[in-house]
Structures are given as structure tokens and as C-alpha cells.
């Protein structure tokens, strides 16, 4: 195992823990995005560039974007319901 692979593994381990420890969902989406990027580096270090590309676009871009948009929508709805009461 090379040094790059070892470092990537450690960063991913810490990143995953950070995602779990971030309790605010909006913040969690951003942490998950960074975690996704570190996973992509890990895949690249383990010679899987195809998977790394998918991981970048899905894990670091698409998933956080969808989560933040969905969160936004839920929050708006809660606000709207709060106004009605």
C-alpha cells in the first residue's frame, strides 16, 4: 500500500465520521459533499478512475444538491404551514 492510499483511507475514515457527527442536515449535506470528494480521491488512489469520476459527480455534486433542494422545500413548507396556524 502506498502512502497516498494510506492517507486517502484515513481521510475517508475521518470524513465519514464527520458526516455522522454533523447534526444539522444542511451542514451535513456540505460535509457529505467534501466526504464524497475524498472518496473520489480514494478511488483514484486505488486505480479506479471510472468509479472516481462517478463518485465526484454523484457524491460531491448531485447528491448534496438534491439534499439541499429537498431540505429547502421541506423548510419552506413548514414555514408556510406555520403561517397558516
Amino acid at each position: 500500500m502506498t502512502a497516498v492510499q494510506a492517507v486517502a483511507l484515513i481521510v475517508v475514515a475521518f470524513g465519514g465520521t464527520a458526516v455522522v457527527l454533523a447534526r444539522d442536515p444542511a451542514r451535513q449535506a456540505l460535509v457529505a459533499s467534501v466526504f464524497g470528494l475524498s472518496l473520489a480521491v480514494l478511488f483514484l488512489a486505488f486505480q479506479a478512475p471510472d468509479v472516481a469520476l462517478s463518485q465526484i459527480v454523484v457524491g460531491a455534486v448531485a447528491l448534496p444538491a438534491m439534499i439541499t433542494l429537498a431540505l429547502r422545500k421541506v423548510q419552506r413548507r413548514e414555514e408556510a404551514q406555520g403561517d397558516e396556524r
Binding site: 471510472d50 469520476l53 462517478s54 465526484i56 459527480v57 438534491m66 429547502r72 422545500k73 408556510a80
Partner: protein
């Protein structure tokens, strides 16, 4: 159940899980060694059999093409499901179906808008490159499609709405999604008609390493690219629209 008892139950479970994990990991091949017959076979067959250099693309789009067809339709049906849900909700909210067409910038930060505007071109080119070179280098329709979607998201962030005037990009996105999904299935049927089996190659393989090589694989990549881009954009547009509608109602 007291806290202590819960911790005990958790401890027993965690220990058991750890034991199973260690037991399972002990049986693995040592680091960096691979002796899977199928994998070796695929890696060696890619270039001579299909004249494409990315064995991953050849595996997903040719040797395992039907798997990919299923995956593509998973995304397709998921996007359609989200659309149906969001549109039913909108109908229930008694809001005009037409989105807000104000020319107001979507983001207030000038830095964000200029960076987004500067990135649109490069990201678009990168997406097209990734789609078009799927059979030569890492990448392909799925990855390129998401990158293309990002380019349109950047246009939105740079301050223009996805819906403007009479040009209805949403319609174009829906068509892109449907055409991409149909294209894959039709290419498969083309193989059935012209070569005798579903998804079998029916055009010339070309020269190894050239852009037009690998038979139908680049075509499949392009259709998947359109499908992924369309599906994600339709869902995004629907979510963003709802947000805009909500915001307008609040004023």
C-alpha cells in the same frame, strides 16, 4: 429500558459484528492481488474484441449491456416518480402551474454569479468530452450526463432562470430524458434486427483509439448522457420551481 441495559445490548451487538467482520476480512486475498478469472478475461478481451480502450465501458455497455439498460430505466422511472409526486403536490397547493418568470437574479452574491458564469463553458465542454470519450478513457454517459446537468445548474446560479419567455427548456429536458432512454432501448433492438441479438453490435468497430470506435458503445454513451442529463435537470427544475413559487407567495 435503562441506559445501562441499552449499552449492554449495544456492546454485545457491536462485539458480535466486529467478530464477524474480522472473520470475513481474514479470508480476503492479500492487498493488491486479484485472481478473478472473469475480470482478467474482460481486461484481455476488450481491445481485440471491441476495439475500444476502456474496458469498463465495454463491460457496462457491451458485455453487460442489459444490466446497464436496467440501470438506465431505474433512473428514468425514479425521475418520473419524483416528477409525478412534485406535480401532484403543486396541483394541491393551488398555485399557478406556470413558474415565476421574473428576471430577478436567482443569487444575490456577485462573486457566486461571476464564478458560475465563468464555469459554464468549461464544464459544458468537459461534460461533452466525458460523454464522447467514454469508450476510450474513464468516463461515459452517466458521468458526463451529470456534468452536463451541472453546467445548466451553473447557468441558473449565474442569474438566469431555467424558464424564460417562450423558450421552454423544461420541455427540452423532458424530451432529452425520454429520447435518451428510448435511444438505448432502440439501439438494443437495432442489434436484434441487424445482428441477431439484443444489444449486439451492428456497426463497424473502427480503429482502436479513434473517437469513432467500439461500434455502438459511443452511441449508447451519448443516449445515456442525454437521459441522465434530462432526468436530473427535470427533477432539479421541478424542485427549484417549487422553491420559487413558495418565495413568490410569501411576498
Amino acid at each position: 429500558m435503562s441506559r445501562r441495559l441499552r449499552l449492554c445490548v449495544f456492546g454485545v451487538g457491536a462485539l458480535g459484528f466486529a467478530a464477524l467482520l474480522v472473520w470475513g476480512l481474514a479470508g480476503l486475498a492479500s492487498f493488491g492481488e486479484f485472481d478473478g478469472r472473469y475480470g482478467q478475461l474482460l481486461a484481455h478481451l476488450t481491445v481485440p474484441e471491441r476495439k475500444a480502450t476502456s474496458s469498463i465501458s465495454v463491460t457496462t455497455f457491451d458485455f453487460r449491456g442489459v444490466d446497464t439498460l436496467g440501470e438506465e430505466f431505474i433512473l428514468f422511472t425514479a425521475a418520473v416518480g419524483v416528477l409525478v409526486l412534485l406535480r401532484i403536490q403543486r396541483a394541491g397547493e393551488d398555485v399557478a402551474a406556470e413558474p415565476a418568470r421574473t428576471r430577478r437574479p436567482t443569487a444575490d452574491s456577485k462573486t457566486l454569479r461571476s464564478i458560475a458564469a465563468a464555469l459554464v463553458g468549461p464544464v459544458l465542454v468537459l461534460g461533452l468530452y466525458i460523454v464522447a470519450h467514454g469508450h476510450l478513457t474513464p468516463g461515459g454517459g452517466f458521468q458526463g450526463g451529470v456534468i452536463l446537468m451541472t453546467a445548466f445548474l451553473l447557468i441558473y446560479l449565474a442569474g438566469t432562470h431555467l424558464h424564460m419567455g417562450r423558450a421552454r427548456p423544461l420541455d427540452a429536458m423532458e424530451i432529452s430524458e425520454a429520447l435518451g432512454a428510448a435511444g438505448f432501448a432502440l439501439l438494443g433492438i437495432g442489434g436484434m434486427v441487424l445482428a441477431g441479438a439484443y444489444l449486439q453490435n451492428f456497426i463497424s468497430f473502427g480503429m482502436v483509439g479513434s473517437l469513432l470506435s467500439g461500434g455502438v458503445i459511443p452511441l449508447l454513451n451519448v443516449s445515456v448522457g442525454f437521459e441522465v442529463m434530462g432526468a436530473l435537470l427535470v427533477v432539479l427544475a421541478e424542485l427549484l420551481d417549487q422553491r420559487l413559487l413558495m418565495r413568490r407567495d410569501h411576498r
